[in-house]
Symmetry: C2
Subunit: 332 residues, 2 copies
C-alpha cells in the first residue's frame, strides 16, 4: 500500500450512508487520520444504517440523519467539503426486484441529485462512489475485469450501473473529480446481519453464533470472492487521494476464491463448531443468480497499489469476535 | 424484407409517444395492416408529439392524451393489448444535461413504471423499445456493432441505457417478450423541425425551406448515418412479429455514411438551391460530441432480414416535399 495518510489530516469529509457498514468503518479510520468527518444517513430500517455502528466515535463526528434524496439538506452538507464518499444505497437484489421504483429512487435518482448539488455548490469536491460487481451480471469469463460487459441481471444492478455512469459523466463533462470502485462481497464488523440484504454472509455470522445451521442455497458449489471491510476502506482512501484515480473505474476483489461450501466449512472451523445445510434455491433467487463470480483487481493493484491484506480466515475470526460481543444492536 | 404483414391484422396495439414522429408514422402503417391502434402521448411541448401528425388517421385510432409516468392511466392502456411499441421519451442530449432529472423521470423512471404495469396487468404483451445509438458514446471503432461498450457521454444516453436494460431484465426474469432497437438518426415527415431536439436534420429541413443557410457546427467533417422513418417503422414491425427478436438488441443503421458537409450539399442539391455555413461548436455541445458515428446493422439483417431501402436522396426529397406542404403545424 502506498497510502499518503497525511493527505487526510484536517480534510473535511462527507460520507453518505455514513451510519452503514462500510461508511462507519471508513469514518473511524478517517477520524484516526485526523479528518473532519460528517456522516449523513437516512436510517431507513431496511438499509444498513445503525446508530450503534458509530457509538464509539459519535462525539468526534458530525452526524446528520437525513435522506440523500433531500436536495435541500444535501446542499448544506456538500458545501465546504473536500471529499465525498458516496456510499448511500439500497443493496438488496431481491428488494430491488420486489420494489424496483424504491431502488431507482435511491440508487439512480438520488445519485443524480447529489451530483447536481455538487456541480452547483462545490464542483471541486473529490468523490469516491461505491459501485458493485452486480453490474456485470452473469460473468462471460473469470476473473471478471473492468472490460467485462455491463449486463446486470436485476434492477439493483441496472440502477447501480446508471449511478456509476452519472459519476463518470459529471467527471468528464463538469470536471467533478470522481472515482468508481466496484465492490465485491464485503464483510466484517458493523455489517447488517439480521437478514441477507447485505450479502448472505451476514446471516451466516448471526446463525452460527446463534448455534443454528448455516443455510447454503443451491448445491453450494458457487464460487465467490470476499473483501474484509478494512481492505475496502483502504481502497477508498487510495481512490480519494490518488490523482490518477480520477475518472477511473476499479474492481475490488478477494485474493482467495472459495465455494460457498468451502466458506461455510471455514467459518465453522474458525468458530470452533457449527453446522451447514443445503437448501433449494427459491425461484425468485434462481432467476437473478449469477453463478460463479470473482473479480480481477489487477488494475487497482497496478495503478494505486491496492491489494487485500486480511485473509478470509482472519477476517471471519474478527467478524465472529465482534458479533459475539455485540449481538443486541445487530440481531434486531 | 420478410415481414408477415398478416400478423398485424386485428392486433390490439398500443404506441407510447404515439403522436410523435416515429409513433405517428408507425400508427399509420399499422392501421393500413388492419391493426387496432391506441396512441398515448403527453404532448409535452418540448417533445415530439404533435396532433397534426395524426390528422389524417385520427378517426381510425384511439387517442389518449396522458403521460406514461401516470401508472393509473397506463394500467388501463396496457390491458388487453397484444403489442406495445414503447417510443415515449425525451430525445434531446442538451436538454438532458440542462435538466437531468426530467430526463431521468421520462427515460428511466417511466420505463420501469410501464414495465411494472405490464408485469402486473399483461405480462404476455410483446414490447418493442426504441433505444438509441447514444448509449455507445464516442465510438471505439466504426461501424459500431451491438458488442461495442455502452459508455454514454450524456445523461440522456445513461437513462436510455437503463431503459433498455430494464426491458431486457423484465424479459429474462418476468417473461415479458421485449426487443430493443438502437436507432440512429431518423428523419422524415412528421419529425420535429422547430428546433434540434430530434437531431439537427429537422432544423436543416426547416431552414432550407425558409431559404436560410443550413448551419453546420464544427468543421462539418463528422460522419453520420441516417434512416428514413419508413425504414425504421419496418424494423419495428419485424421486431414485433419475429419470435427470434425476443430478448435481443439490434442496431439500426444507414446504408450510406456521409459527412455533415456532404449531407448539406445533398440537401441543397435535392432542394434545387440553398446555402450552408460553418459555425463554431458551442462549448456545451462540444463536451458531449461523439465525433464520427455510424452503425453496423448486420445483426438485424441476418436475423430479421431488415435493411434500409430508402436512399438518403429519396428520403430527403420526400421530407422536403412534406414540409413544403405542411409548414404551419411544424414551424411553431
Amino acid at each position: 500500500m502506498n497510502l499518503r495518510e497525511s493527505y487526510f489530516k484536517d480534510r473535511r469529509v462527507l460520507i453518505t450512508g455514513g451510519l452503514g457498514f462500510i461508511g462507519s468503518n471508513l469514518a473511524r479510520r478517517l477520524l484516526g487520520l485526523g479528518a473532519q468527518v460528517t456522516l449523513v444517513d437516512s436510517l431507513i430500517p431496511e438499509y444498513g444504517g445503525n446508530l450503534f455502528n458509530i457509538e464509539d466515535i459519535r462525539q468526534r463526528a458530525e452526524v446528520n440523519i437525513s435522506d440523500v434524496r433531500d436536495p435541500y439538506a444535501m446542499r448544506q452538507h456538500v458545501r465546504g467539503k473536500d471529499l465525498l464518499f458516496n456510499l448511500a444505497g439500497q443493496t438488496s437484489h431481491l428488494d430491488s426486484m420486489r420494489e424496483p421504483e424504491a431502488d431507482l429512487e435511491i440508487n439512480c435518482k438520488a445519485q443524480l441529485s447529489i451530483l447536481e448539488t455538487c456541480r452547483h455548490e462545490n464542483p471541486a469536491i473529490r468523490i469516491v462512489f461505491a459501485g458493485t460487481r452486480q453490474v456485470y451480471g452473469k460473468p462471460d469469463y473469470l476473473p471478471v475485469d473492468e472490460a467485462h460487459p455491463v449486463r446486470p441481471v436485476d434492477v439493483n444492478g441496472i440502477n447501480k450501473a446508471a449511478g456509476e455512469m452519472y459519476h463518470l459523466l459529471y467527471c468528464s463533462t463538469h470536471g467533478i473529480p470522481c472515482c468508481v470502485l466496484r465492490l465485491t462481497n464485503t464483510y466484517g464488523p458493523r455489517m447488517r446481519v439480521k437478514d441477507a440484504r447485505q450479502t448472505f454472509l451476514g446471516v451466516w455470522l448471526r446463525r452460527i453464533i446463534e448455534q443454528q445451521p448455516i443455510q447454503v442455497f443451491g448445491d453450494g458449489s458457487q464460487r465467490r470472492d470476499f473483501n474484509y471491510v478494512d481492505d475496502v476502506v483502504e481502497a477508498m482512501l487510495l481512490a480519494a487521494s490518488s490523482d490518477k484515480a480520477v475518472g477511473r473505474i476499479y474492481n475490488l476483489g478477494g485474493a482467495e476464491v472459495v465455494s460457498l461450501n468451502q466458506l461455510a466449512s471455514l467459518m465453522i472451523e474458525v468458530n470452533g463448531g457449527g453446522k451447514q445445510e443445503l437448501l433449494p434455491f427459491a425461484e425468485e433467487l434462481k432467476r437473478i443468480d449469477i453463478g460463479d463470480y470473482y473479480g480481477d483487481f489487477r488494475k487497482i493493484e497496478a495503478e494505486l497499489g491496492w491489494r487485500p491484506t486480511v485473509s478470509l480466515r482472519e477476517g471471519l475470526r474478527r467478524s465472529l469476535d465482534y458479533y459475539r460481543q455485540h449481538q443486541k444492536p445487530y440481531w434486531g
